[in-house]
Each structure stands twice: as C-alpha cells, then as structure tokens.
Symmetry: C2
Subunit: 323 residues, 2 copies
C-alpha cells in the first residue's frame, strides 16, 4: 500500500510502499478513501508535540470502507470512562499509531461509525478531529442553546468553522473575529451575522457596539485578546478555550469573572459519546463541512505547505488513491 | 433606636438615635441581636463601591428576633429567577438599603429564615454573606464532592474560613495558602491538612510536592499567583473565583486550561436557593463559624479598624445592645 511517511523532524513527507497492516483482536482494517489535515500534523513535523516517534504515518482524520460499509473513524483512542476528562492513555491516531495518510489503517472496531450519508468522501473526511472538538467545546462544555449569541474567535481554522456551522444550524446568532477581513466576509456567507478584525486595538468595544453581548465564546487563541472577552460577555456566559495559538493570557480581570459569574472552560477533543453526538447532530442538521483545499495524497507536501501558512478557510482534505 | 451611621467617605461611623423604621407591605421588622462585618463595609467607607448614597447604615450580616422567633437574614435582595446569575436589580442590604448595624431593620419576609439552633447570636451573625458566598462557590459552582482535594487560597477571610470548615465537615482533604504562617497553623487547628506561604516564589511547586494535585480551588485573590494554580490542578478540576483582592491575572496558560479541561468559574454571593442550602448544610453538619473578634456596636470604629488591617482569622462580629 501507499502511505505518506515522516522519517524525522523538518523533513518533507515521503510516499512509501508498505505492506498492508495486520489487524489485531478487536481491530478492523479500513481501506481509506479520504483524509484531512489538522494543525497537529504541522506541529508534529516541527517537533512541537509530546512523544514523537519516527518513522511515522501522520493523519488523524479518515473515512473509508470495510467491505461495502462506508465508515468514519473516531480518531481518539482510550479516552477512558470519565466524560469530564480523558485517561492518561488517551491519544489520537497519527502519532504514535500510524495515521490516515495511507491506503489502509488498522483501528479498534469501537472507533468505527457509519459515514453520514449526505456527505461525500472529502466532506466526511473533514469531520472527525475538528468536528468532535467543536462539538464538545460548544455543547458538552459550553452548553450551547439555540437562543444564545455566540462569538467564534479566529475564524478560518477547522474547529472555528465547525463551531460557526453548528451554531448557524441551531439558529444561534453567531459573530466572528479574524485578522483577515476576507475571512469575516466568508464567515458571513456561511451564516455569521458579522465580525470584527482583531488587529484593531478597539475590537472589543467595536464588537460590543455592533453586536451587543455574548452568552458563549469559542476561542482557540488565548493571548492578551482573551482578557478583553469578559467585557463583551453577558452575565452567566461561558468562554470555552480549545487552543492557545497566541500564548499566555495577560490582564485578565477576576472582578469581571466573578461579578458576571462567567465560566472559563477548557476543552480538548472529545469522548466517544461526544463523537457519536457530533455525528447525530451532523446527520440531523445535514451539516456540510467547509472545504478549503483538496489535494491527492501524491501532493501531500503541497497540502502541508498550505497548512503551515494557515491561510485556509475550512479544512484541507486529501484524496487517497485507489490501488 | 441606635444605629451606626456613615455620613460620607473616609468618616468614622457615628452612633445615632433614629426612629424605628416602618415595614412596608411584604416586609417585617427584625429586632437585631448581632451583626458582622464584611470587607464590603470597608470598601464602602473608602468609596470603592458602586452606587453609594449617604447617610447610610452599613452592615449586611444580621440575626435577631421577630416576636419570639429567632431569625437569620438573607442579605441578598431581588436576585431574580435565574439560578446561574442575578438580575440587574440584585443588591445587598447595607448600601443603599439601611443595614444591620442597627437595633432594628425592615426586610422582605422572603429574606427571613430560622436561625440555626446550635449557634448563639454571635456565631449565627457570622454566617450570611460569607457563608452563602462560600457555599455557592464550593457547591453550586465548584461541584464539591467529599473525595475532592480542595485548596483554599488566602485563608483568614470570612469566605475562605467557611470554605475550610465546609470542606472539613464534608470529609474533604483541605489545604490552604496564606502570606502569614500563623494563619496556616490556625487553619490546621481547624482541620486543614496543611498549607504553604505564598510569599515564596516557589509556593506552587512546594505545594505540589507536599500535597499532590487538587480537584477544587476556592480563590478570592486573582493576581499573578492565580496563573500558577493550573499547574497544581488535576485534570477536570474546578477553580472558583469569588474575589480579586490582588488584581489582574497575568501569565495564564491556555494550554494548561484546555489540556486539563479545567473550569475557571466566577461566583458572587448566592441565590435564595443557595442561602437555604447553606443553612441546611450548616444545620446538618453543625458547623460552628470561626469568630475572630467580637465588639459591641458602641465600639464599631474599633471593629472597622481591625477590618481595615485584615489581620483577622474568621469573622468580626458585633453585639447589638438592648434598649
């Protein structure tokens, strides 16, 4: 089989011919049809991820067939029994286990679900990591309700665009922030009410003046802009953190947090229940993921370059070639 | 009747003879037997509180009699119907409404509860503001469970000492921080397992090495030490903020918050349900509040001086003289 192999840090991925893996007990073999990239895949090539092993096949998002059954893979392994946190053994396929940038993958049977019927292979491949992360952040942690007003910061990345789609589907009023005006325009085309460019020092005041106050924020950035968010929140609001691309938060007011009785809630990936609920939600509301780019597995390094630049709006998907 | 009146900022309280108030519809008159001070009373004399009006009678904690019924007063007015947040009309007796440093007070009947029978007047007067604040922070917001390990920062203040007592009563393992070693010793005498002095730059590491990690933190300080708390938390832990005496939080890591799936939860005072539940808890576990000082109402300015210095461990209580 063909797979994209990473032999060490800072190296391009290398298309390699490997033997098809052998499934162990309680595992199945999936003939992959499509995969998708995540920021995680970029961090792994830069060595900024714990527990790296080489050679390795990256890729955490995958869809394919088992015989004639069309399936989607939950990329989380060994979450454990507690809904509020994962076990110390929790990990995501694609490192250290071989991932989805490959024609075949072996995977525990319990990680296999039916592919949503309204999605093609590329669309379905966009779902797993970012779909479950957005779902857990918004619903399991953030307790999103249809009448809530939601702010999604840094629109464009996978989790943020799913949060936008889920919120719009649910009938929420959704606003966005970005450092790129054209991403705000794209978000509005996908149902956002509006947005502000956070390059302006006055973005929080501008947002309040335009949009009013929010019940729910979905943030993957952190940084000093996070400290401005409490001022745009309604009392009882929830601010969910699923990432920290802009680093440490300075200048956070405890007074705003306790007086408004805000919840600041960390969220990472999702439990098996979250994954199942995410698929149910996607099926019920016939959610169509936003696809930014599609590459063949043979063009994987071009795809990784787009990922590194972070200019996508939605997911970067990979077609896996037939035999 | 005699009452302690505040005629303006930075002035001492003035014992004044006033007519007994008249109860309006749905109000009752309480003949007060004891009151207690809160940091709020100090901030009011310094003008650091919104909506100040003069002249005014401070005091938010009060117990007394209605005929022969021994009662305790819920100091929160017009919380509203939502358990997760108070209404815009919410306020606490003692500003602008006349408070408990007085022989008589008029109060809505719905704010009246039976005084816990196992407490004397002074002990019962210590309960209302700090008891309900600690209860909501720990239970309603922080979801405290008997098997949790809890850290109470800045032990000595009213809310912190109630959190200690509630946790010890429930069988929790409770640790404390303070800038004063003798307050840590006092906390241990009241059932804490141990504590660290946060004057040391290494307090968080020292605490982890001694105590392990925590499921729940009750913090009234904020400031830069708050940013060290995530490293002493277990995954799925809750960090409740009920105050911010040390100001803005710098250097907070979003990675620690999302990876450990922490909850940072603001909490202020409590709803009528919280007040009722706090009294039930105090009765069930026969909690005895920690009393730091007792003054007569005639010595109110000496009491205010102790409050201003912040050297108390537990509550500063006020005996209200008879006619």
């Amino acid at each position: 089989m063909i797979a994209a192999m990473l032999r060490g840090l800072e190296l391009p991925l290398e298309l390699t011919d490997l033997p098809v893996p052998l499934a162990n007990k309680n595992e199945v073999l999936v003939r992959l049809k499509a995969a998708a990239l995540n920021k995680r895949d970029y961090w792994i090539t830069k060595g900024k991820y714990p527990g790296l092993t080489f050679p390795s096949i990256p890729g955490s998002d995958g869809v394919g067939i088992i015989g004639s059954r069309e399936v989607i893979i939950n990329p989380g392994l060994d979450w454990g029994n507690r809904p509020d946190q994962f076990s110390p053994e929790f990990r995501i396929i694609g490192m250290p286990e071989f991932g989805t940038l490959s024609q075949w993958i072996k995977i525990p049977l319990t990680n296999i679900y039916d592919k949503p019927a309204h999605l093609n292979w590329i669309e379905a491949a966009a779902l797993p990591v970012c779909g479950v992360t957005a779902y857990r952040a918004m619903f399991t942690r953030g307790r999103a309700r249809p009448m809530d007003k939601m702010l999604v910061t840094g629109i464009g990345g996978g989790v943020a665009t799913f949060a936008l789609l889920f919120g719009v589907a649910l009938g929420m009023e959704v606003w966005v922030t970005s450092s790129a005006d054209h991403k705000i325009d794209l978000a509005v085309q996908h149902g956002a009410k509006g947005g502000v460019n956070y390059s302006s020092a006055e973005w929080a005041k501008d947002l309040s003046a335009t949009a009013g106050r929010f019940d729910l924020v979905i943030d993957g950035a952190g940084g000093n802009d996070f400290a401005k968010l409490p001022q745009v929140m309604n009392a009882g609001g929830r601010m969910v953190i699923y990432g920290g691309t802009r680093g440490e938060i300075d200048g956070l007011s405890p007074q705003r947090i306790f007086w408004k009785q805000l919840d600041v809630l960390g969220s990472t990936m999702g439990s098996p229940e979250d994954f199942k609920s995410m698929l149910d939600f996607v099926n019920q509301y016939r959610i169509k993921p936003i696809i930014s780019h599609v590459f063949s597995l043979r063009e994987i390094n071009a795809a990784m370059t787009v990922l590194a630049k972070g200019e996508q709006f939605g997911k970067i998907c990979i077609e896996i070639p037939g035999d």
